[in-house]
Amino acid sequence: MTFWLLLTVNSVTFGGLLFLLSAGFSLIFGLMRIPNLTHGSMFMLGAYFGTTLLSGVLGFRFDFWLAAIVCAIEVAVLGALMERLLLRRLAGQQLAQVLVTLGVSFMVADLCLMGWGGDPISVATPAGLNGFIRFGTAVFPLYRLAVIAIAVIFALALWLMLERTRLGAMIRAGVDDPQMARVVGIRVSQLFTIVFALGAGLAGFAGLIGGPILSVYPGIDQDMLPLALVVVILGGTGSLLGSFVGSIVIGFIYNFGQALLPELAYFILFLPMVLVLVLRPQGLFGGQIL
C-alpha cells in the first residue's frame, strides 16, 4: 500500500515537473508549428545556471527561489535571442527551423559539458522543504509536494494569462489561425518571440526546480526532450489543458513503467505517442487551447 502511494505521489510530482517543461513546448509548437528540439537544452541550461547561482556568483549566494527566477529569465533571454537571430531568418521554412533547433541542441550540450564538466551535480533541497510529511505508514518528502503545488500555481497562472489578458487572446488567435490573426492586426512574428522566450524561461525554471529530484548531468537534455514531445503529442499541440493532462498521464506511465516493467519502460512510454500520432494526430485535446 505504501509502495503504491509513494509511486503515485512521485508520478504526480514528475507530472508537475513535466508540465512546467512542456507547457511552453506546447505553446511554441501550437503557435510556430515546429517542435522546438532545443527545449531539453533549455531545461539543462536552466539547471546548470541554477547550480552556478546557488554556489555563489561574485561572493553573492543566491537563495533557491531567487536563483530559479534569475535562471528562468536568463534562459528566456537566450530563447528570445535564438528566435530572433536564427529562427526568424528561416521564417516559413518549418523543416529548416526544426533542423536548426536540432543543431543548436548539439551545441548547447557540448557547451554545458565544457562549462560544468561531465560529473552529475546535485542540487540541495531548498531550506524549509527538507522535511517529510507522515501519512499513515507512508512518508512523503515535502519538496515533492511543493513541486506539485508550484505546477498547479503555474497552470492556473498560465490559464489566466491565456484566458484573461490581451496577450493571451493574441496568442490564442495566433495558435488558432495565424494568417487571420495577422489580418486583424496582431503582430504574430512578435508573438513568436514572446512565446519562445516564455517557453524557454519555463523550461529553464523547471530545470532548477527539478534539480533536487533529478540532479543535473550531461545528457539530461536528451532525457527530457522526448518526454516533453510525448506529453505534447498526447495532449495536443498548443493546448494548455492537453499538456497538463498529458504531463500527469506521462508522469504515471513513466514512474509505474520504470517500477513495474523496467525492461519495457521506454516502449510503453513511446507507444501512446505513436498511437496518438497515427490515430488522432491532433492529440487528445487538440484544437482547444485551454
Partner: protein, 329 residues
Amino acid sequence: MSKLVLARGLAALIAVIGLAVVPYAIGEVYYVNIASQVLLYAIFALGLNILVGYAGLVSLGHAGLFGIAAYVAAYLLVAGSGHVLAIAAALLASLLATAGFAALSLRSTGITFIMITLALGEIIWGLAYRWISLTNGDNGITVPARPAPFGIALGSARAFYVATLIVFLIAIVASGIFVRSPFGAALRGARDQPRRMSALGYHVWMIRFWAFMFSGLLSAIAGVLFVYYNQFISPQALALTASAESLLMVISGGAGTLLGPVVGAALVVIVKNVVSAYVERWNFMLGAIFVAIVVFMPEGLVPGIARLTGALWRSRGKANLPMTAGPQQ
C-alpha cells in the same frame, strides 16, 4: 551529350580507382579504418537520402532501422549461428521493422512524419537500452569475429575496407538506378506534386512505401557492416543523436543528390574522428556546421558548391551563357 556521358564515366572510373587504392596510399591502419567508416556511413546516408531527398520525407528514426539489423546480427553471431544466416536474418528483421515504420508513419508527411519516426526510433532505442536480458543493455553485445567470404578473411583493416568499398559501390549504383528509373521519377513526382500524381493514377502511398523499404534496406546493410566493423553494438548507435547525425550527413552533403550523402558522411566522420584529435569540442562544431549549412547553404555542400562555382563561371563569361544554359538540352 555522349561526351558528357563519357566524361562522367571517366570521372566515376577515376573515383573508383582512387577509392580502391586508398588503403595502399595511406599506410596507417587508423586512417584506413576512418575510410571504412566513411563508406559504411555513406551507405546509411544513401539510404536515408532516398527518403529525405527523393521522397521529401524527413526521418529522425533511421538509427532504429540501422540498429535492428546490427543487433539481430550480433545476437545471432553470439548465439553461434553462421555469418550468412546472421546477415540474412538481420536484413529481414530490419526490413520487417521498416515495413512497420512505413505503415505507421506514412499516414502523414511533414512535421508529423518526423515526430512519428522519432517516436519509433526512441522505442527501438528504449528496447535496446532496457531489455537487458535480450540486448545486454548499456554494456552492448560483442561480436566474436568478422566473416571470411570466399575464404578471404576480413580481419585486417585493409581487407575490411575493400569489402566495404564493394558493398558501397553496389549501394551507390543501385541508388543511382533506383532514382533514375521511372519509379524514381514517380517518387520525385510524389514529393513535389502528390495530388497531381494521385490524379494521374499513381498510388502515392505505395510509391512512398517502397521507397521507405529501399531506404530501410540500405540502412540495414550499413548496420550489418557497422557491427562487423566495430565487432560491438550498444544502444548509443540507436539513440536520437545517431539519427540526427545521419540526417546531418544527408543534409550537409545535399539531399536529393547521389554524391551529397557521401560527401556529408565523409564530413561528419572526419569531423568526429580526425578533427576531434585536435579540437576537443567537436560536438559543438558538428552542431555549428549543421546550423550554418541549414541557414546559409540549405541545399547542401554538393549543390551549393556547384551553384557557387556556377555563379563564378557565369560572372566570367556572361555573354555566351543565356542561350546554352538551361534545361532545353
